[in-house]
């Protein structure tokens, strides 16, 4: 945080990027009024849950995003010589505070959309509370997917493209209601790379668009399980680490 201008500039860039993403969704909704039966306010809530989760993930886990460098350069050596779990040492190296803008955007969107939905009777206060919890599951799910992807670097070294595929693409895809996708893609986004569990499943139930009370239980369950699996993979990967020659 020693370069104030740098920080403000990256906040501005992040905010513009986030806004751009939402404008894309908003324009489509504005044109068609609803997407697969979701109104603009409902999509706003869906979008908010994901953005807060993704923003929190990017803020805390920024080093996972550039983990490829640690493997390519052998910088991971210096993490392994410290008396703490490697993931902890890695994440503590850097926080990307500028990503707070994504969270702020998400929360702002929720503040705009929720009152309209509550007045219209689609959303209850309990539902709103559930959506806030959902942001946490979304955060954990993004983290789990990113961790699993980063762990792949222990074997395949180059993971930048893989990261785009597993995290960036899936996260963007789940900004829309999954109803618009063919069944196989929906299945991928819910059960293979379960980013969709972090917003679509609980938000759909809360807004009364389908699902069972299980829709509220499943996301935290899937999030915790994914994290455990990803961390297992990470620990296994550590033993495969090659380092680099000097």
């Amino acid at each position: 945080m020693q370069y104030r201008f740098d920080f403000l500039a990256s906040c501005a860039i992040q905010a513009t990027m986030g806004l751009y993403d939402f404008l894309l969704v908003a324009v489509i909704l504005w044109k068609f009024k609803t997407v697969a039966g979701w109104s603009i306010y409902e999509v706003g809530v869906l979008y908010a849950a994901s953005r807060v989760g993704y923003g929190a993930y990017r803020m805390v886990c920024n080093e996972l995003e550039r983990f490829e460098n640690y493997i390519v350069t052998g910088e991971f050596d210096s993490i392994l010589i410290r008396p703490y779990p490697t993931l902890f040492v890695l994440l503590s190296r850097d926080f990307d505070f500028a990503r707070v803008t994504w969270m702020v955007q998400g929360i702002a969107l929720l503040v705009i959309c929720a009152p309209t939905l509550i007045r219209g009777g689609t959303l209850t206060w309990t539902g709103l509370f559930c959506i806030m919890l959902t942001c946490v599951w979304s955060f954990l799910l993004h983290g789990a997917v990113a961790l699993g992807t980063a762990a792949a670097a222990f074997w395949i070294v180059r993971i930048e493209e893989l990261q785009v595929f597993t995290l960036n693409a899936t996260s963007s895809a789940t900004l829309y209601p999954l109803d618009i996708y063919p069944g196989w893609l929906r299945a991928v986004l819910l059960y293979v790379i379960p980013i969709g569990m972090g917003n679509y499943v609980p938000v759909r139930y809360v807004l009364g668009k389908g699902g069972t009370p299980m829709s509220l239980v499943l996301p935290p369950l899937v999030a915790v399980c994914s994290l455990l699996v990803a961390y297992r993979l990470w620990r296994w990967g550590e033993t495969k680490y090659h380092s680099t020659g000097s």
Partner: protein, 348 residues
């Protein structure tokens, strides 16, 4: 159990094989690599055994790619051996990595462990916090290391702006902040000038003697070994080819310094491989000097003579060489580790 207490480092049948994926050649090579990968194994370390008692200062030398760094990285818990076992201070660097990390210090000459953009002192503060160093011990550390390594000269400078010598001093201090019992040093003098090197050597000696820290040092510079290590281990192609005292290494391989002498015309009476005696008559009976003509470059009239610095002085060799012709120029080359190994393998 008794052995584990006395021995700081124990390595048994240590093997490390790197499996390297090979790319198929051609336009579709990348695709083919993905679906039918082809591997070849690089046997970096192939069955190494050694014991290092607590408090010993051991030099670990070998040419590039011999497996030095791989061994050190396995000892420090960075790499997992393909087979074999390691014990450092009675702990396994692999399964007890975190516990062991409290007790060891690691320095890589090629890479800093410090925070690149922060003032040097911040790195020390962060490490002190990380290793839970009590405040008094930390102040004590700062004082001691300012005296020994002069780290107080550049505490406020960001690490990226330190000179190589300063950075190495800072890295050494950082590796010792938690008072480790064992120190692994991978090429700590690489790229440093003579003054910086000797400062670091002096410091390492002090740490080894006053604190009883066990030190394993890899190096290319035989001077490091000569001045610091009572024991030398030589690794070549992943195997230990020598483990013993420096003096017996010298006996079996010599530490050949090479003197190049340029004459104004082709010197008389010299042949490759001939021995030279102190009075310069190319004597047959003077084996004790051990001065050997390595090569003669006829077009330039340059003769290269190998001799052992610890037995003869350079002036005495030059003096003897005078009797073969008019000397135009001389230069000295210090022995390279590659040369030692060549001689070592030859003498076996």
């Amino acid at each position: 159990m008794k052995e584990a207490c006395e021995m700081a480092i124990v390595a048994r049948d240590l093997v490390k094989v790197y499996r390297i994926a090979q790319r198929w050649p051609g336009v579709l090579g990348g695709l083919r690599t993905l679906f039918s990968p082809k591997y070849h194994d690089v046997r970096a370390v192939q069955g190494i055994n050694f014991d290092i008692p607590a408090g010993q200062f051991v030099g670990y030398v070998g040419p590039n790619g011999a497996g030095k760094s791989t061994t050190v990285k396995m000892l420090a818990g960075i790499l997992h051996p393909t087979s074999g076992t390691i014990t450092v201070n009675g702990l396994s660097p692999q399964s007890q990595r975190q516990r062991l990390a409290w007790q060891i210090g690691v320095v890589f000459g090629q890479r800093t462990q410090l925070w690149w953009d922060l003032p040097t002192v911040d790195s020390f503060e962060l490490l002190a916090a990380m290793y839970e160093v009590p405040r008094n011990d930390y102040l004590d550390f700062m004082k001691t290391f300012s005296d020994l390594l002069g780290i107080n000269e550049f505490l406020d400078t960001p690490v990226r702006r330190l000179s190589l010598g300063q950075r190495m001093r800072a890295d050494l201090a950082a590796a010792l902040i938690h008072r480790p019992r064992v120190l692994f040093l991978d090429e700590p003098t690489i790229g440093l000038d003579v003054v910086a090197k000797s400062r670091i050597r002096e410091f390492l000696q002090q740490i080894n003697e006053s604190r009883g820290v066990t030190i394993l040092l890899t190096t290319h510079d035989l001077r490091d070994i000569e001045e610091l290590c009572k024991r030398v281990m030589v690794i070549n192609h992943g195997r230990l080819v020598y483990d013993g005292s420096l003096s017996s290494l010298r006996d079996s391989a010599g530490l050949p310094t090479v003197l190049s002498v340029k004459y104004d015309s082709l010197p008389r009476g010299l042949q490759e491989g001939s021995l030279i005696s102190a009075n310069g008559d190319g004597a047959r009976n003077n084996h004790d000097t051990g001065w050997t003509v390595e090569s003669i470059d006829r077009p330039t009239g340059t003769v290269r003579v190998a001799f052992d610095r610890n037995r003869s002085s350079a002036p005495s060799v030059i003096w003897a060489m005078r009797s073969f012709g008019e000397i135009m120029d001389v230069s000295l080359t210090e022995p390279l580790i590659e040369e030692i190994i060549k001689r070592l393998l030859k003498s076996e």
